[in-house]
């Protein structure tokens, strides 16, 4: 019973760490890193749904009776990873601009500057 869901629980803990990082840290880069961790948890969950017992990678082998894992989650996550790095780059570019116009990338300090205006 315990090990049946062990992997899922690890993914949930990973997701919690990511969510906690995003909410509790005021540094914008740390928030982006938190988002990445959150994202990794979702990727792992999807891929483990495609796994089948005694299966192998979904690349055709000679012979009958080979069990293949489901290729569909692999396709979805493969593209999601590359899209993920493109959107991360967008977020980092915005952080660079924020640093240039506020002089800081700390959320609390930025909010203070906005209140002072």
């Amino acid at each position: 019973m315990f090990f049946d869901h062990f992997n899922y629980w690890i993914f949930v803990i990973l997701l919690m760490i990511g969510l906690y990082t995003v909410m509790s840290r005021s540094n914008l880069i740390k928030k982006m890193i938190g988002l990445s961790i959150f994202q990794i948890a979702v990727f792992l969950f999807y891929i483990s749904l495609g796994k089948i017992e005694d299966g192998t990678a979904p690349i055709l082998l000679e012979g009958d009776g080979v069990i293949y894992s489901n290729p569909l989650p692999h396709v979805l996550i493969l593209t999601a990873i590359v899209v993920g790095v493109a959107t991360t780059a967008l977020g980092l570019a915005l952080i660079v601009r924020i640093k240039e116009s506020f002089g800081t990338i700390d959320e609390d300090e930025i909010l203070l500057q906005e209140e002072d205006k």
Binding site: I13, Y20, G50, G55, P71, D108
Partner: protein
């Protein structure tokens, strides 16, 4: 043994992410995130997702680490600790986690063959019919480029858009409200570490093989793990390594920023063009059956061209983004000097 590997990797993963969370030096956090990505890639291998593992290793441990480091060079790496601490984030995370763990109790055991994912009609089609229908041994490639070709077209467009957006944001001349000079951690004299002979020699030896490997991954993606996404990232990594060791200016002489922008659009156009050609030949958008003398030959040609389009756009997007980040400190210096 398998359980042992699994548990070991999972615990390493949690330890790595906790390290990322608690370390206050952002350089260390970035390096740890790269290590976490490698562990995740290993876990993907144990879950039979070799294509995904490939992508994660190239993207997570390679490109995204470079992007984070490029950003840190501009914004500084010290994380300030928050003065006011609130218990709310911890409570919310625990509540979400508790709900999800409650939900996992209803999930099937990992690997069981009678889940809806494994018994769906689509799964049967992808695994049992696609080798004859598409004629490509790697099922991930046939699903990616043929069955779900339209979806992948959308993903490539997202990458294209993100590349354009990064260029637009970082090209703007910056205007600072206070006139304080920005401390610039990269010393221009040492840019590209011109004095380090070991990285020079090693990377000169490595770069041709990295590019060759990129080409192999691109064109062997039908038969083994690989394809346009992975090849694009590996190719870009080769050029980025060149730039890191020999300086950005040398890379810009090799491929100009304008050419990269041209490639960025060319890949998407090639992908869409294949779809338009198949429409002109009387089939649906991105239906490759009509492209060749037999449906299987048409699928082969279609997948080859589409993957090439993906590879070109991903390479160009990663390079454009890198140019944007790496070129930024120069512009800051220029506008401060005037």
């Amino acid at each position: 043994m398998e359980e042992f590997t699994d548990i070991f990797l999972m615990l390493l993963l949690i330890a790595g992410t906790l390290g990322v969370l608690y370390v206050s030096n952002l350089f260390v956090a970035t390096m740890l995130l790269g290590a976490v990505s490698l562990i995740v890639a290993l876990i993907f291998v144990t879950l039979d997702a070799v294509d995904v593992a490939f992508t994660e290793a190239a993207v997570g441990a390679g490109i995204s680490t470079v992007l984070y480091l490029g950003t840190l060079a501009m914004v500084g790496s010290k994380e300030k600790t928050r003065s006011k601490k609130s218990p709310l984030p911890l409570l919310v995370s625990l509540a979400v986690g508790g709900l999800l763990i409650y939900a996992t109790l209803d999930l099937p055991v990992i690997g069981s063959p009678d889940t809806p994912v494994q018994t769906s009609r689509l799964t049967d089609r992808f695994i049992n019919v696609s080798p004859n229908e598409i004629g490509v041994p790697n099922m991930v490639t046939s699903v990616l480029a043929s069955y779900r070709g339209f979806d992948t077209f959308g993903e490539v467009t997202v990458i294209f858009t993100a590349g354009i957006a990064v260029l637009m944001i970082l090209r703007q001349r910056h205007t600072r409200r206070e006139e304080e000079p920005i401390e610039n951690p990269t010393n221009p004299d040492q840019k590209g570490s011109l004095h380090d002979i070991v990285p020079h020699v090693v990377s000169k030896l490595l770069i041709p093989f990295i590019l060759l490997f990129g080409l192999y991954v691109q064109f062997h993606g039908d038969f083994g793990p690989g394809g346009g996404f992975q090849a694009g990232v590996i190719f870009a990594a080769g050029f980025i390594l060149y730039s890191l060791v020999f300086g950005l200016d040398n890379l810009k002489q090799l491929i100009s920023a304008r050419f990269v922008e041209f490639l960025l659009a060319a890949g998407v156009l090639l992908y869409g063009g294949v779809g338009v050609v198949s429409m002109l030949m009387g089939a649906n958008f991105l239906d490759y059956n009509v492209l060749g003398s037999t449906p299987v030959a048409g699928q082969h040609l279609g997948i080859l061209l589409v993957e090439l389009g993906v590879g070109i756009t991903v390479t160009a997007a990663m390079l454009a983004i890198f140019f944007g980040f790496a070129g930024r400190p120069d512009e800051i210096e220029d506008s401060n000097g005037h």
